[in-house]
């Protein structure tokens, strides 16, 4: 199966990391596609939670917003937003949180707040939303982001949410007990934190992607794990289910999400 886009490869590689037992805090966009793809393929028992309060939701089509009626209609139940953040997120009930961002650094800290100084921003981004506490309260964090030299930045202008901080045992020193980012899936490759330094290190390269292309799209000198795999290309089934999901979504919303 060779006819797929880098974006499809990214979504599918992210979906594969999810387990049937996961309780997953889902963001809109690529995370939502990956989580629902996992649910429709190898992880039918996965529990999807959106910060709008929908618990164990099974949307037929991808939501366009974090609070689409479809999420509520197909949920086990819907709780208030304070309850969502108190009992479910801070409560430690979430095994995997899915984040993206405008900028990421080599320790998987994320910036979705500002480019430039906070008080005089070059670009004012939407802000952290749920991310600062998703980053510390979920059992582990998966990140899904397209690679580009400006978004994979040597230094963040603002740390919206903690990844591995300055690396090493920085999370533990801050009193955080969760694992933090364990997987960063891009349109080019998969990063995982080095066991010691916690620097995000490439463990798998998507088919047809070269190391030069990866470096051109990363703002720091990338490191590779001792053994680097080639990502298994999308299977026919994975691609078919993902495309059907996008087609259903397009039919419902008039345009693909």
């Amino acid at each position: 199966m060779s006819d797929y886009t880098p974006s499809e490869m990214m979504t599918i590689a992210a979906a594969r990391a999810l387990r049937n037992e996961d309780i997953c805090f889902v963001g809109i966009g690529a995370p939502s596609a990956a989580c629902n793809l996992a649910r429709l393929t190898h992880a039918p028992g996965i529990t999807l939670i959106y910060e709008s309060g929908t618990l164990a939701t099974k949307p037929r089509v991808l939501p366009l917003s974090i609070g689409d009626g479809e999420l509520c209609d197909t949920a086990l139940t819907t709780v208030s937003v304070p309850e969502m953040f108190r009992y479910w997120l801070q409560g430690g009930r979430i095994t995997v949180g899915f984040l993206g961002g405008a900028q990421i650094d080599r320790y998987a800290n994320l910036n979705t707040t500002v480019v430039g100084p906070y008080d005089k921003p070059k670009t004012r981004l939407p802000g952290g939303g749920g991310a600062p506490e998703i980053a510390i309260s979920c059992g582990e964090i998966f990140i899904i982001m397209k690679q580009a030299p400006r978004s994979f930045a040597a230094k963040l202008d603002f740390v919206t949410s903690l990844g591995h901080g300055e690396g090493g045992d920085h999370r533990q020193r801050l009193g955080v007990k969760t694992k933090g980012p364990t997987r960063l899936v891009t349109d080019l490759c998969i990063f995982e934190p080095d066991a010691e330094t916690k620097e995000m290190t490439i463990t798998s390269i998507h088919p047809g992607v070269t190391r030069d292309v990866i470096q051109e799209n990363t703002g720091w000198p990338v490191r590779y794990a001792a053994s680097v795999a080639e990502t298994t290309p999308p299977t026919a089934d994975e691609l078919a289910v993902l495309r059907e999901l996008h087609a259903r979504t397009a039919a419902e919303h008039g345009k693909a999400a």
């Binding site: 809109i28 966009g29 910060e51 709008s52 309060g53 929908t54 366009l64 917003s65 974090i66 609070g67 689409d68 009626g69 999420l71 509520c72 819907t78 709780v79 208030s80 937003v81 304070p82 969502m84 953040f85 108190r86 997120l89 801070q90 800290n109 707040t113 906070y118 008080d119 921003p121 004012r124 939407p126 802000g127 952290g128 939303g129 749920g130 991310a131 600062p132 506490e133 980053a135 510390i136 309260s137 603002f158 740390v159 919206t160 949410s161 903690l162 901080g165 920085h170 999370r171 801050l174 009193g175 955080v176 919303h253 008039g254 999400a257």
Partner: protein
């Protein structure tokens, strides 16, 4: 004790220049019709609080109603930036605004603490994040039992909460269902509350024993505005108008275009316009 009023009267009865205002809604049930009424009544100097300021606050900011925005995620969901918010914050048009920025968890807890009449909320939050460096309203306390440091934020106590809900009964009790957001907390945290609703019913009839209901004595004024959440949605009534959210990006990019649109669609309009917007989307909601 809730009074049933026209939207214009309800707004006059509840919101004053300089008020701290929470017009809440988490994608669902955003009080757009009430926002337009704020514009028509030309309120000034408002502090606008909302977890997810989107189009309705973009409109208020662009029309010069706001002087401060307290928020945790500001954008046009799935579309992009709020151009009027950015223009005011970055360029001072039509007036300079200040911001106070939190995380969702902190704001949700702050509303909850406001409803509980506490001066602050505590949470395990902001660890390793930069917001505490730029927001002096993020402080810390030490747990007197474990010694753990916890984040603290002031509770949210608005002068006015404005929310949209599905139904009120004749006594003025208000029923909300579906995605609840922080609306109940916003109403209970506020000094005054204005609720717009889809319809008035004689009574709620058979319902969950634990239905989410705001008793009439927690609400100041109720205005029946069918479609009043449009382009947001009301579960069981009509769907979200995604095309409107996309169109807003273009409308709001340009100051003149924005002003012309507001003149034609808000200043020259009224709450009665919302019913027809919603009707277009209601067939699909079934």
């Amino acid at each position: 004790m809730a009074e049933f009023l026209s939207l214009a009267q309800a707004m006059e009865a509840t919101m004053r220049d300089g008020d701290t205002v929470a017009m809440e809604g988490f994608t669902h049930l955003i009080p757009h019709a009430a926002g337009h009424e704020v514009v028509r009544q030309r309120r000034k100097g408002l502090t606008l609080i909302r977890m997810t300021p989107d189009i309705v606050y973009d409109q208020l900011i662009g029309m010069g109603c706001a002087e401060k925005v307290v928020f945790s995620w500001g954008g046009n969901p799935g579309v992009g930036s709020l151009h009027r918010f950015r223009d005011a914050y970055e360029n001072g048009w039509p007036n300079k605004i200040t911001i106070e920025e939190h995380s969702h968890a902190a704001m949700a807890n702050a509303y909850e603490a406001g409803a509980a009449n506490l001066p602050c909320a505590i949470l395990r939050g902001y660890i390793g994040a930069d917001l505490p460096k730029v927001n002096p309203n993020i402080r810390h306390i030490t747990c007197p039992f474990t010694g753990e440091t916890l984040a603290a934020v002031p509770s949210i106590r608005p002068d006015v909460a404005v929310v949209h809900a599905q139904r009120a009964d004749r006594e003025g009790n208000v029923l909300i269902e579906g995605i609840l957001g922080v609306q109940k907390e916003a109403v209970l945290a506020a000094k005054r509350a204005l609720v717009t609703i889809e319809e008035v019913v004689d009574d709620f009839g058979p319902r969950s024993l634990n239905a989410v209901i705001l008793p009439h004595w927690t609400v100041t004024a109720i205005a029946c505005v069918p479609g009043g959440a449009h382009p947001s949605y009301a579960q069981g009534y009509y769907k979200r108008d995604n095309a409107y959210y996309k169109a807003w990006d273009k409308i709001s990019r340009d100051r003149d275009g924005f002003l012309a649109w507001m003149q034609a669609n808000v200043i020259a309009g009224g709450p009665q316009d919302f019913a027809k917007y919603a009707r277009r989307l209601s067939a699909a909601a079934e």
